[in-house]
Amino acid sequence: MPANRRDFLKRALGASTLLGLSPTVPEFLCRAARAAGSRPSGGDTILVVVQLAGGNDGLNTVVPYADDHYARSRHTLRLAEKDVLKIDGLLGFHPGMPAFARLLQEGRLTVVQGVGYPHPNQSHETSLRIWQTARPENPAAQTGWLGGAADVLSGAGQADVPAMFVGQIAQPFTLHARTAIVPSVRAAEDCTLRVPRLACPTVFPALLDKPAVARGGAPGTLLEHVQRTAAAARIASRRIEQAAEAPAAVEYPPLPLAAMLRVIAQLIRADVGIRIYHTELGGEEPGGFDNHANQRDNHASLLRQLSQSVGAFVDDLRRAGFLDRVLLMTFSEFGRTLAENGRRGTDHGSAAPMFLAGGKLRGGLAGPHPDLSETEQGGVRHHTDFRRVYATILDRWLGLPSRVILGGQFEPLELFSG
């Protein structure tokens, strides 16, 4: 071994301990990783999906306070003109959602109205699966729609970690992929090398010191693949650590969804090339939004959590300069019945609004409020198929082929500016 290499090893591996590496990433390692294509994302767009499990009552979220059908059907749950945060002469947000009202005014929120699908299914499990797979016709579908997107991204070599679930529950089926491995995490630390006493354990710097060819890891070999990915992993870990250590630009409220969105914001700021994030509010099936009885307070608290958390997330990313690359989307498996059920609650319905937040949206209301004079199995009749929203996001936001991922062509919506 030449003297300079020995010196290098001594420096790299440490004199008193083999592993006492400097915590900063050596320059050659960065070089190697850059050369290996693990450079920052170069400004790719990012999608953040929030699942609202249980069936959100869209009518008490975006409230048609001026609609007689609504007023007549909701004896105890009705929100009147004086209660809501007015959007226009017909609609207003639930009073617990001032952040949504503000984002709407700022043009950073879009309410896609009347979203559902034909022949709505009113079982939590089945309808959730339909929204997760985007395959109403095939209840046995093997992958979720974001899993399909992850497969396309990883298959095309565009991202080795195309998607990630950030949350406390089991990974939702939406992310179920055929070949892509989609991690589930609860905190940014879960994405970093947790090796407290060892500063730089996983990637031997020595591995990258020589060209891979010389030591058998010739280009295209399995060894080289592992080496290259290991180098990229070390860098990603470091970037995530730094992003997690940096203070957020805003204060997040002490709410579970806010905590998860804060983690996502950290990972977005780390800029490690993850294109799709998924989190949730409402928990495991049947989900917190399922309010058959005494709906008012529980629903209000969930909507407050949604609004405050998304508000903080959008503000954080805006100040950090990332908002133009980020789109957040909410969905729930169905809305609820127009009529109350006699237990101060509502039952499983059909269509409901979806919310989109981000820096590149047209903003405002997309589509008319559904006509409440004609209901569908007691719920709101849909006029916009949810797969049109998915297709628009895939094609026009993520730049992925919706036709392949959704298994069909769906007419896009005009959602984005510029």
């Binding site: 301990t17 093997q142 992958t143 055929r178 070949t179 491995i181 991690p183 399995l222 870990s237």
Partner: protein
């Protein structure tokens, strides 16, 4: 310590099938050494212990392979001690319990090749317990895979086609005449046998009709005659009033079937690097199509020149289960299997929960930044404790057992144990000098082990 050879064992071109499949006989040019013994134990198991490696080194390849195929002695004793756990896993009614039980079995079995092949068939007949929702039936499915893992493939396929867990998982548990389950038929003649591109939509529809009448009731397979479509079906060019057995009979006559299974097994046992040529696989496929004897096929592959050539050596990427067991088995370490199963799932291999009916893609797809980070953190937990792993594995104890517990022996011993002379080149020079100084001896052995098992080389099988 065995001195690592300057170059990999050289071999004639791997494309000559006659040479490739002839039994490997070591000679001066291709000596039997620790590297090849380690290679054999990685592929035919989950990595050898020091005793196993030494024994194989002394016995030579063919005798070692015979023992891996048919372990002497303690099998019955193992089955007996495991029977209680077996019954408990079946009764537990918990998906996690079953997954942990299987992993524990892989960790402790004296017949690792059998578990390795059971894992292979699980990836082939990929059934997820989330879709079965009955751990008792999944347990039955797993026992079926194991019972036939090295046995006749045609019998295995036939059993799978009427296994209640499989039918439930693939939407084939209520196969009515009025609505034949296309999904189940598609799996049976697709990923489970011929793969893609051999059956037209027409063939699929006809196969689905032939399979009607099969139901699962209270966990048992039932054939309900009035729900079976007795009409004539035309499947892969053959016409008749086919039932399930006929469809399988026709499938088993397709030359494509043997080629596909041999090809998959090639990827499992020999190499993921380069797809093999048709000519290379032809002799094995021809033989397999005659007898469907999986044990014989596995034996031919393991004994072959090709298996011990550079075309195979470290030309596979370990899956998460192989990675974790590759740390634990050589150290004779026991850890809470439920936590281990959870970790394996987090880095991409949820046992009994393969992503789709196509199983795990494997190969390069195992390795991402996230899974490498996860593997590193798992190795750390296994070796240093943390989380559920209160009792970390102890490399020093393994070394001491073999009289290698001196500080200076740590590097060479662990290098040989985990990488058999394929260390990350530059690092080896440092590591084999032994830990420099300071620190608890046990801890230093752990650090070395950690370094080795998180190296890129260790990710290769």
């Amino acid at each position: 310590m065995a001195t690592p050879p300057a170059t990999p064992p050289s071999a004639p071109p791997a494309c000559d099938p006659a040479w490739a499949w002839a039994p490997f006989v070591p000679d001066a040019r291709r000596p039997w050494d620790l590297r090849l013994a380690g290679h054999l134990h990685r592929r035919a198991g989950f990595g050898g212990t020091w005793s196993e490696l030494r024994e194989s080194l002394a016995d030579g390849p063919q005798k070692s392979i015979a023992r891996l195929l048919r372990p002497a002695g303690d099998l019955a004793a193992f089955e007996q001690t495991f029977a209680a756990a077996d019954a408990q896993a079946a009764r537990s009614g918990s998906a996690e319990g079953l997954r942990a039980w299987w992993l524990l079995r892989m960790l402790q079995t004296p017949h690792p090749l059998l578990e390795k092949m059971t894992l292979f068939w699980h990836g082939h007949f990929a059934v997820a317990q989330a879709r079965v929702r009955d751990p008792r039936l999944v347990h039955g499915y797993l026992k079926l895979l194991r019972a036939r893992a090295l046995g006749p493939f045609d019998r295995l396929l036939e059993s799978i086609a009427c296994d209640p867990a499989v039918l439930l998982a693939l939407d084939g548990a209520a196969n009515r005449r009025s609505s034949p389950s296309r999904g189940f038929a598609a799996a049976l003649v697709g990923p489970f046998s011929l793969g893609e591109g051999h059956c037209s939509q027409q063939d699929l529809g006809e196969a689905a009709r032939a399979l009607t009448g099969q139901f699962v009731r209270q966990g048992e397979l039932r054939f309900i005659e009035r729900e079976h479509d007795p009409g004539v079906k035309r499947f892969l060019g053959e016409e008749g009033p086919w039932k399930t057995a006929d469809i399988l009979r026709i499938v088993l006559r397709q030359p494509a079937l043997a080629r596909r299974i041999v090809g998959k097994l090639y990827r499992w046992l020999i190499s993921e690097s380069e797809p093999p040529s048709a000519a290379l696989l032809e002799p094995l496929a021809a033989s397999f199509s005659r007898d469907y004897d999986t044990g014989k096929l596995v034996e031919t592959m393991l004994r072959s020149n090709l298996f011990f050539s550079p075309a195979a050596y470290r030309q596979r990427i370990k899956g998460p289960v192989e990675f974790a067991l590759g740390i634990l088995r050589p150290l004779n370490a026991l850890v809470p299997a439920a936590a281990l199963a959870e970790h394996a799932a987090a880095v991409g291999q949820d046992l009994l929960g393969p992503p789709t009916v196509n199983g795990w893609e494997g190969g390069r797809t195992w390795i991402t930044r996230a899974t490498l980070t996860g593997r590193t953190n798992l190795a750390h937990a296994l070796l240093f404790g943390g989380g559920a792993f209160a009792q970390p594995a102890d490399p020093l104890a393994a070394a001491q057992k073999h009289g290698r517990g001196e500080p200076a022996a740590a590097g060479p011993f662990l290098l040989d144990l985990f990488l058999q002379g394929d260390p990350p080149e530059q690092t080896a020079a440092v590591l084999t000098k032994g830990p420099a100084d300071g620190g608890d001896l046990r801890d230093r052995f752990r650090r070395l082990a950690f370094e080795l098992v998180t190296s890129p080389e260790f990710q290769l099988s």
